[in-house]
Structures are given as structure tokens and as C-alpha cells.
């Protein structure tokens, strides 16, 4: 009787263990560490900086074309 109980206990335990490891394998890897360390913010700042510089340049071109248009209109 005792042996049967211990056997079932081991069996259930092993099933739970395998279920647990199965659940862990199902977890999908994401860049959580990067976000928890805060290093991802550096990437965001740099990407935003690149966009800022590009947009600054776009506005410069726009102003320049507008100036040319005005000059040609005057003539």
C-alpha cells in the first residue's frame, strides 16, 4: 500500500514537473532584459535624433524651393 502511494506521488510530481517545463518552453523570448535595463531608450533617442536631423533638412529644402518660387514669380 505504502509503495503504491509513493509511486503515485512520484508519478504526479513528475507529471507536474514536465508540465511546468513544457509551459516554460512555450514562453516566447522577447527583448525583456533590454527594456528592463533601459538600454532600449538609448536606441529610441538615437532613432528620434536621426529623424529630427532628417526633418530639419526636409524643412530647409522646402524653404529653399519656396524662395525660388517667389523669385521666379517676381520676374
Amino acid at each position: 500500500m505504502n509503495r503504491i502511494i509513493s509511486k503515485t506521488a512520484v508519478l504526479t510530481l513528475s507529471i507536474f514537473m514536465s508540465l511546468h517545463s513544457f509551459a516554460r518552453a512555450q514562453e516566447i523570448e522577447m527583448a525583456d532584459t533590454m527594456r528592463s535595463e533601459g538600454k532600449i531608450y538609448v536606441v529610441v533617442v538615437i532613432a528620434a535624433l536621426a529623424l529630427t536631423i532628417l526633418s530639419f533638412y526636409m524643412f530647409r529644402i522646402d524653404r529653399k524651393v519656396s524662395k525660388l518660387e517667389k523669385e521666379i514669380n517676381k520676374r
Binding site: 516566447i28 523570448e29 522577447m30 527583448a31 527594456r35 532600449i40 531608450y41 536606441v43 529610441v44 532613432a47 528620434a48 529623424l51 526633418s55 526636409m58 524643412f59 529644402i61 522646402d62 524651393v65 519656396s66 525660388l68 518660387e69 521666379i72 514669380n73
Partner: protein, 224 residues
Amino acid sequence: MKTTIAHAWWWKILALICLFYTYYMGFLGEVPRMPILNETIRNLYFHVTMWMAMLVLMLCNAIYSIKYLGNSKPYADIVAEECARMAMVFGVAGLITGMVWANYTWGAPWVNDPQLNGTAASMLIYAAYFILRNAIADDTKRARLSSVYSIFAFVMMVVFILIIPKLNDSLHPGKGGNPGFNKYDLDSNMRMVFYPAVIGWTLLGVWMMSFRVRITKLEKHYHE
């Protein structure tokens, strides 16, 4: 030259606000956890939007071509051409970004997928549009022929990009038996970034396109 919508600032600023939002949320926003895709699901804001911007600009190309056939104003033809040019830039960007994404999720930069082959075919159709334009010396003849061609090209592109891949098995979401992004992948969180991203990239493309239109108009003015 009268002041047009191209001289207004509000939509340019709107484009930049959308893009900054896209960059911020694109890296930091909540995304669903998906196997294989992992963090690359964020490419939705940077790769898929290229195609959306291309489609909108190609639609503008078709609209302005029809407009040209209606009113024969050279301005409509200039806009149509520059729309197609900017759309090609977005198309190339979409192809290159897609190849990088595919390399890490599907295992190869180019897989034999109807969506990929369809986009390649439609890019070639629009390459032929520019060859056609360059082949005709007469301005009005060029404008009329290319306007007719671009209506045909737009229909072919819709068939190649939006219809044929849906009928065949494709690795892209929403095609064949695959679930679409709108089923459960594209949750409401991603939608809130995806739509502004599409608006932002499209408006940026329109802005760049407007430069070329304005410069071409200046050149014409100068030579007259």
C-alpha cells in the same frame, strides 16, 4: 504660381508627429508575444507601412493620370509621374526591408511566395512605365500614353499584390490558410501605432514627392 497645399505646413508637421510617435511606440509599445516572430513583429510599423505608402502613391498616380486624360493639364502629368517615382522608392524600401525580415523569420531573403513574386512583377510593370516615358520625346504624346498605361499598371498591381496572393498559399498573414494580422495578431495596441505609422510614412512620401513636382514646375517656368 499660386500657393497650393504643397506650401502648407500643417500636414508636414502632422507627418513628423506621426513618425516620431511611430519610432517611440515602435520600440517601446506593447506587442503580442508570437513564436518565430518574437520582437520582429515591430517591423509591421517599418516594413508593411512602406507598402501601404507605395499603394497610396500609386493610387495617386492613377488618379492624376485619369485627371490628365480629362483636362490635359501638364501639371496633372507631372504629379502622376512624381507619385510613381516616390512609390517606386517606397517599393524598393519595402522589398529590401522585407528581405531582411524574411531572412530571419522564414530562413531566406527570397522565398517562392506569390506575394513576393507579385510585388516583383508589379515593380517591373512600373519600371516599364518610366521606360515608356523616356522613350517618347513629344510632351503631350508622352503624357497621354503614360496616363493610359498607368491606369492599366495600377489594375495589374492590385491584381498582383492584393488578389493573387490571397488566392494562393502565401507565408504572409491573411493569405491562403494563414490568419490575417487583423484576426488576432494585430491587436488594438498595434493598430493604434500601425495606422498613424501609415499616415506618417505616406505624408513623408507626399512631401518628398511635392519637392520634385515644384522643382519640375520651376524648371518649366524657367525654360519658357
